[in-house]
């Protein structure tokens, strides 16, 4: 078989972590009507896909309600709320081949360190250009929480935000642009009073 050479550089996993770290210190501050600053918090972010059994065991371990805690201070009771807000989540949604960035496959990229254990080769061949699509979601209980998050994100994308990343050991760092392509918002507020308002 032609493709029978095992390798795994965790590049996609690194991209996921990289995307998460762009937004992992967003802050929401709340003030009372007189303008006094009263609350500051970091907005929680997580990767959306979650193994269901782990989600249940992590977040609702003992099923019953009540805010009781074990000796280490970790909640030992069930989840006593529907969810906490505001929060963000993201997921990897697509892989698209980018023909415009294609270079000759025989082009060599010099390694920064020689791997003697691997025959002492000093180069690797050029990579294959793919664009990865991510979707970031913000959910808030209050409209203003949502726009506070959004306003802290949008100015950094013109439309790209570039960071330098050591993606593969032995290769020099690469500049990875994160390009903002689309922003949509959703506020379900028009239905019956018993229907939950959802701000995304």
């Amino acid at each position: 078989m032609a493709i029978a050479n095992y390798f795994y550089n965790s590049t996609i996993r690194k991209y996921v972590a990289l995307f998460g770290t762009y937004f992992n210190q967003l802050e929401v501050r709340r003030t009372s009507t007189d303008g006094t600053l009263n609350q500051r918090q970091i907005v929680p972010i997580s990767y959306g896909p979650y193994q269901k059994i782990l989600a249940r065991l992590d977040q609702d371990p003992n099923i019953e309600g009540g805010a009781s805690f074990d000796a280490d201070g970790n909640p030992s009771a069930g989840q006593p709320y529907a969810m906490t807000l505001p929060r963000m989540a993201f997921e990897l949604t697509s892989f698209t081949y980018d023909a415009e960035r294609t270079v000759a496959p025989t082009r060599k990229i010099r390694k920064t360190a020689v791997d003697e254990a691997n025959g002492g080769r000093r180069f690797v061949y050029s990579g294959t250009p793919y664009n990865m699509g991510f979707s970031l979601y913000i959910m808030a209980k209050y409209n203003e929480d949502a726009v506070k998050c959004l306003e802290q994100i949008l100015p950094f994308f013109n439309p790209e935000f570039t960071s330098t990343v050591r993606l593969i050991d032995g290769l020099e760092p690469m500049d990875i642009p994160l390009i903002l392509t689309d922003v949509t918002s959703e506020d379900l507020y028009e239905e019956a009073f018993t229907t939950r308002r959802s701000i995304l």
Binding site: N24, Q41, P44, Y50, A55, G65, A67
Partner: protein
């Protein structure tokens, strides 16, 4: 055109009072004692028309009847992209006179259960937010209404503040409060991880520490030394 004057179905105070008594007695027999927590609006935004900074500072206890007796309604537990969501809803019935006796006599302007107030439901020890109060669920029996139907759902916690003086209420969400001193370092992210089971902020930070290149002397990685040996 007029109703029959020999039958007075809608203005008999004694009959109305009797039904009130029966309703209250029934709820006392079959009901559940709950804690009602009133909300004070402290951060009203007149542009977005919302209050993102509520404070809950008074509690009242009274009996209610669980109208949705076959279990919680709503969407139940499910996994969304934001993690585990528990969308339990509940309908409670409280007698008008019970509410008046336990709440309105204490706080005159609280003439009815209010949307946005909370109810602590002791059977599963969880906090529910009132979404809507239906005052005509029993339609003018003997000329007046006897009960409020309180439709509520499990609270979405967004760092609401509790200063009721009721220890089990005030401390209820203490461990989940993410109102922390922000100094943009890992210690703060660690604190967030302790208060939010689903927050991966610290995990991303630690993972990315190994791959992000924020070298001040070489921000664009143009002077990397390449070994030829």
């Amino acid at each position: 055109m007029a109703t029959n004057t020999f039958f007075n179905n809608y203005a008999q105070v004694q009959e109305q009072s009797l039904i009130d008594d029966l309703v209250i007695e029934s709820i006392k027999i079959y009901g559940v004692d709950v804690i009602y927590i009133s909300r004070a609006i402290k951060g009203r935004d007149k542009i977005f028309r919302e209050d993102d900074f509520p404070e809950y500072n008074e509690t009242f206890e009274f009996e209610t009847y669980v109208k949705s007796m076959e279990g919680f309604e709503g969407e139940g537990d499910f996994l969304s992209k934001f993690g585990l969501e528990i969308r339990d809803t509940l309908t409670l019935t409280v007698a008008n006179r019970t509410f008046e006796r336990h709440v309105t006599r204490e706080v005159v302007e609280l003439t009815r259960p209010r949307e946005g107030d909370l109810i602590y439901f002791p059977l599963n020890e969880k906090m529910f937010e009132i979404k809507y109060v239906e005052h005509e669920s029993i339609f003018y029996q003997m000329g007046q209404t006897q009960v409020f139907d309180i439709q509520c759902e499990l609270i979405e916690y967004a760092n609401q503040r509790f200063n009721t003086g009721h220890p089990s209420i005030d401390d209820y969400f203490a461990e989940y409060n993410t109102d922390i001193i922000v100094d943009a370092n890992n210690a703060t992210l660690s604190a967030l991880t302790l208060t939010d089971d689903n927050a991966s902020n610290l995990d991303f930070e630690l993972e990315a520490d190994g791959i992000l290149d924020f070298s001040e002397t070489d921000p664009f990685s143009e002077n990397i030394t390449i070994s030829d040996t």
